[in-house]
């Protein structure tokens, strides 16, 4: 196995030679992140898989409501050259569509379903990306988008327990005030191990 900085150099060379990289971020010697254009992503994944990044660790998304974008993140791992790669690409937030990658990494099938469920990203080509996976009978917007309000949803959906009186603050009762002051004074007087 080569030493780890060589791995990063090798990876950067491989990517820059084949694709137009928008942004490269070397987080450390084991983690590198590339931001790509949406059109390059599939080709980049094929190239990386042929170069040894055979494990697809995770596929998820990040919501950026201010930019009106959703960022899809693919995380790949190579067991020969220990570098985690993040492939990131920003897509339109109102109609997020990303081609499926199950013909490159078959295990992505369930990640794509999860991503569709929680962020609303569509993956045409995956035969059942629209099926429910984790949430059952969900009737609202995708819950991991930033503008989803979980508290409002919970208030609407689930009964809350009502309490007749507020909780009791035992440390702040008025009738114990004199006692509290005395204790405080005593504690002050004992400071530094000196008795006054």
């Amino acid at each position: 196995m080569m030493n780890s900085m060589n791995n990063v150099e090798f990876l950067k060379g491989l990517m820059n030679q084949n694709f137009k990289i928008v942004e490269t971020d070397v987080i450390d010697q084991y983690q590198v992140s590339f931001v790509l254009k949406q059109a390059d992503v599939l080709q980049a994944l094929v190239t990386l898989r042929n170069a040894g990044w055979i494990q697809m660790s995770y596929l998820s998304a990040v919501d950026w409501p201010d930019e009106n974008k959703i960022e899809v993140v693919y995380i790949l791992m190579n067991w020969e050259r220990p570098v985690h790669i993040q492939i990131r690409t920003k897509i339109d937030r109102n109609d997020p569509v990303m081609p499926t990658i199950i013909h490159i990494y078959p295990g992505a099938k369930y990640y794509e379903r999860e991503c569709h469920e929680f962020f609303g990203v569509k993956f045409p080509g995956n035969p059942d990306y629209q099926k429910q996976l984790i949430l059952e009978m969900w009737d609202d917007m995708p819950p991991l988008r930033k503008d989803f309000d979980p508290k409002a949803y919970s208030d609407r959906k689930f009964t809350k327990r009502e309490y007749n009186e507020d909780y009791l603050v035992l440390s702040d009762q008025n009738d114990k005030k004199a006692k509290r002051e005395a204790r405080k004074e005593r504690a002050e007087s004992l400071k530094g191990g000196q008795k006054i």
């Binding site: 009978m137 009737d139 919970s154 959906k157 689930f158 009964t159 809350k160």
Partner: protein
């Protein structure tokens, strides 16, 4: 010759006989409780010390049971997500009567730290009847044991009537379940 020493015993009505048998049954039942543990929440970490030599649940006559059909207690430890509530209702309805439910921790009581989550229900007794709650986040093992003793006392005093309530107010429970879950029936691609 008929003895004059004993008077004829009073003929008991059917209800009275039933009640006597129930009392005898309750005595044995409360000293031999089998518990099905639904450990999806973090409070489940308090059960190993309760079961093993530290607190030894066995000395109260309690033991773990692997199937709902033969269990007496359903122990809900910690938060319940909407998805697992469906499974809990299935499980609860499978249990043979009489059956008791213990809610562990503050999440089944009022949602606990998950009170504003989109995935976690807030009040378990809206959906299935709960006999004993053990409050705390998480409750320590003494209070878990104390909760079990409370349940045994409730069985003795005939106040652990959750399963009767569930039968009598079934419509109310079903209505609540529908409101929170949409549909209780599980549509699951791995089982269909």
């Amino acid at each position: 010759m008929k003895s004059t020493k004993f008077t004829e015993p009073r003929k008991l009505s059917k209800e009275e006989v039933d009640r006597k048998w129930w009392e005898i049954g309750d005595f044995f039942r409360r000293n031999s409780l089998w518990m099905l543990m639904y450990c999806t929440g973090c409070c489940a970490i308090e059960l190993p010390p309760a079961m093993t030599s530290a607190y030894d649940m066995e000395r109260l006559g309690m033991g773990p049971m692997a199937t709902p059909r033969q269990a007496d207690i359903l122990l809900i430890s910690g938060y319940l997500s909407v998805k697992s509530l469906r499974r809990v209702i299935y499980t609860y309805e499978q249990m043979s009567e009489p059956k008791y439910v213990v809610g562990l921790g503050s999440c089944p009581i009022n949602g606990g730290i998950y009170h504003d989550s989109h995935a976690v229900i807030n009040q378990l007794d809206q959906y299935i009847p709960v006999d004993t709650y053990v409050a705390g986040c998480m409750p320590n093992t003494e209070s878990v044991m104390n909760g079990f003793v409370d349940l045994m006392e409730q069985i003795r005093d005939k106040t652990a009537k959750g399963w009767i309530k569930y039968k009598e107010n079934n419509e109310w429970y079903k209505k609540n379940q529908k409101a929170a879950l949409g549909e209780v029936i599980i549509h699951d691609e791995f089982h269909e």
